[in-house]
Assembly symmetry: D2
Homo-oligomer: 330 residues x 4
């Protein structure tokens, strides 16, 4: 079986997925839609697919699945439309910035027995996957404490930040998902601290750029997340999982692994400076996993529920900061 795809949104991440679909022997990119014809045309030319409207893709009989890479505020509507149209759906995170809207959307997905995968790409990073496999293989015993470090090389434009839902919903949300992926148990309480240390403009926009979060599960497992919108040395992405028998950790990745030593010491180059090069393999593996799940009729992970849970943690973290107290979850 070949899974036939429509791509909604031909921007930066849309291109990444177009390439992944085109390179997959079990998939075919049939059509692309974008509000900007030039963007859609570029992908159509590069991968030999058609340009269509979203309506046409929705109605198409030659399309089995869609990849939603449009602006965030269109995600929930599009998911609902395509779930009703019977297409399998891969949607970039987040489903929506409002948990209520996400819940309503997931209800539609459920009612239509829709297939929805949410784009938490880090679950497919080979290094993080290896940590998870080590846990599953019992290499570190029972998971007890998780440490997640995510530091971006630089802040996005303030304009983007204003529409992003804030650092917890935009950036930390990946770490909340990773925490759930690694803890093996749902967090039941959240304590968060947040400040503006990097850029006052971010503060003026009502957001934070430096945050720290503790998640705790019912059994007392703890996860610490630290985030910053600044990392001069590159894209800092580390996880460390402590268990009863040992610890498993994933190291940072750099494009070039050399070392130069002289009187000033031993120097290795900076890390990747961009999430798209850091997670190249993860983006490809993510779409492969989506295609494989559709092909086999298998369960899709991470799904809409995972998207919702991560968002609920983001909301709780923000509430914790605003109210200066620990938040207990549902």
């Amino acid at each position: 079986m070949t899974v036939r795809f429509g791509l909604l949104g031909a921007g930066r991440i849309g291109k990444v997925h177009a390439k992944a679909v085109s390179g997959n022997a079990s998939a075919k990119l049939v059509a692309v839609a974008d509000a900007f014809p030039a963007a859609a045309n570029a992908i159509a030319a590069a991968y030999g697919c058609e340009v269509r409207t979203i309506d046409a893709i929705e109605a198409a009989k030659d399309i089995d699945a869609v990849i939603i890479c449009t602006p965030t505020d269109t995600h929930a509507d599009l998911i609902e439309r395509f779930a009703r149209a019977g297409k399998a759906i891969f949607c970039e995170k987040p489903v929506d910035l409002s948990a209520d809207r996400v819940r309503a959307c997931l209800k539609v997905v459920q009612e239509t027995k829709g297939k929805l995968m949410v784009g938490f790409n880090r679950r497919f990073d080979p290094h993080f996957v290896a940590v998870r496999k080590a846990i599953d293989a019992g290499k570190i015993g029972d998971v007890e404490m998780v440490t997640i470090t995510s530091r971006d090389p630089g802040a996005p434009p303030v304009d983007y930040i204003k529409r992003s839902g804030g650092i917890f919903r935009d950036m930390t949300i990946h770490d909340f998902d990773m925490a759930r992926f690694l803890l093996g148990e749902e967090p039941v309480s959240v304590s968060a601290h947040a400040a503006v240390l990097v850029d006052k403009e971010i503060g003026a926009a009502g957001d934070y750029d430096s945050v720290t979060v503790i998640l705790e599960t019912a059994k007392g497992k703890q996860c610490v997340i630290t985030n910053s919108r600044r990392a001069t040395y590159g894209y800092d992405q580390r996880i460390e999982v402590h268990g009863s028998k040992g610890v498993a950790s994933a190291e940072n990745q750099r494009p070039v692994s050399i070392e130069i030593a002289n009187g000033d010491g031993y120097t290795r180059p900076p890390l990747h400076d961009f999430f798209m090069t850091r997670y190249t393999e993860a983006y490809a593996a993510e779409i492969e996993s989506f295609i494989a799940a559709i092909e086999k009729g298998a369960t899709i992970t991470p799904n809409g529920e995972d998207g919702l849970k991560a968002l609920e943690l983001a909301d709780a973290a923000l509430q914790s900061v605003k109210e200066g107290r620990r938040i207990t979850l549902g």
Copy 2:
């Protein structure tokens, strides 16, 4: 000038200090006191000093300074006595488990213009010192976020734990001091989570074995501390300080740095398995610093106030756990 020492307490840590004093050209170990004559005699024999009573040491004209390594509940009383006797005092942490008692004791030290150093040995670890020097040299810009990891190879006997004041006052207190050492600004709020994941006996004794703490300063600088009473791979002691220009971190230490590679991968030996081997250099440097300060009439650091501040953070962390909320400090 030679600083002449009396040693109070001839136990494990007393021996470490006896060796440090004896090996220092500017110091001389004159006498040792211990409730157990055998322990005192052993040190006297090894380092050629006298065995005396605490009273005799207090009254002695040939003693300039004392090192207090007796049980915790005697510290505050001894500090007061020796401050009044005009001796310079080095006291192992903590001054007392009660912040009120510490305050009363420090009042005496102040009134007598006493010299008091508190034994936060980690400030003298050459690796942590190097991190601090990198900060002072402007290598990482303004400090923004600190991460401190302390995991013990194993828990102390439950009997000890019962008298220890709990994990925050016994173990995390070192990290609270390190946080202050590295942040360069006092924490003003504390969020802590704690659980019993390692040993139920510890829980039965009313304590925790796995804790996570966020400290935040007035400027929004954040410090995360994670502690566990279990680390199968050795004594895990790491710090990481993120600033506006970069990050400085101190790696874990192992007694032997070899690597063996085969079909199972690349393996390096475990870390130090004991705090006394991990911090050998720190213990020696600590006493050297005390001696140098006395010789030069210089300010002593860390002092009683540092001991009090760390204890207040420990108390706040415990309160945060007990009350399930963020605690704002004085």
Copy 3:
């Protein structure tokens, strides 16, 4: 301009190059030839090109360049044919196992003003390239001593070894090329030692499996190469270049960078276990470089002369072992 390619040889490495050409916007794979129709058909199907005979490719007007991945003993003949046919040629190493035959072949290339690139893929590894760039940027001053370590996960079949020309011409030849790439000066003398330590069958086939070589240039720069046909921990590929101001080195590569620590120590996974995964990026960059050189009419590197020089070093190393003495080169 689009460079139109014919691929000669549809085996393992042929597939790698077919993919690289197909993925390159400036190139097009037009045809593939192979003695085994099934192999050629597979590539034709995967990349949408034709299956043709070598004769047809030689005569084709719609083909600008060929990639020769056929058995070694056909390389020199094919190079001569395609040089005369005016096609640009990329040929897998070696041009031939006989230096005399290589010289004769290069004479034809020269007479026909042919363009010939020889497949020393390691020159295109991003890590080794970064070392070379560090040298060129003056980061380590004048190059003085080079250390190259190449250890294969396992020996090839003895049947292959018999036809391979021996370890120096088959395996070390890559290191001889790398030595020239890094030394910046031709070696003028060679001392080599060789033994059979891994597999007696290799010895029975007249070859060695464990060798050590010193190369020295006229200025006294030295390069040490160590090779083994066994490395239980994966494909060991390291270079280290010492200069007057410092040292630059390239670390080994592993597919997954995690670490697991427990009572046995800290363990990272083995290295890549196969040269094709280790050098994935290098193979792609190599063909890119070939395409770019043709497009721009630029000089091709490494060329036939580079192939010959490496072979001469291999011959000298073998002679050094056979005669138990240092060999001085031309």
Copy 4:
């Protein structure tokens, strides 16, 4: 039993041994002799021993063992004198720069049933010891190939070089001993290359500053040694032992293990800049081993024969360079 020591030579290395003896509970430093009274007096004052003449130490009834740290050209004579006087002898390497003189000296030691240990301190470095233990424990199978890297931070004064016997007898000799320590089999052939790349003055003095050596044993095991009199990044001391089952390696040591990362990359401090700080633990363990051997009447290692073998390898390496050929040993 307490081993009573006389120290011959109160220079830099003499002080190191004086401290080691004084700190050892089974040993006592009784007397020190030096041509310069001030040097002897300083040690006498620091460790509470007497200053005596060499003659007096030779005749002394209260001295069991001597440590010879006098200039190299006195070593053989002193060994003979003290062997005849029935004292156990620890002598800094080398016994003599002439292998014939060493053989004559060892004959005296043998005839007098003398106990002689030669100061190859690296055998006692805890990291190298751990590699050797890993070999002995079968962790890497049968040893096949050894790589030893020794690079000094800087060259000694040319004046010293003139009297040193040359780089092979002065510097590489440590690596020759380490090669024997790790190979577990005597080398039977030597190929060496040498050049002057660091300092022309060294060349003018008839010596080399950059050398590369291959040793091969009867079974075909190979050891590669590289040496340079220059290493801007500190004292580079690495060993790597490849066996049939894997590889064991000892990493370089640095006084401070921190890392600073910023836009320029990740930088760790330089290595130790001096052999005495790099090998602090080795020097102490070496004398401990000597004392323990005397106490227990155990065999002393490394002994005079080890000193001779290393010197023979040095002589062969020099001959290899001079004659431009591989040298076969006795």
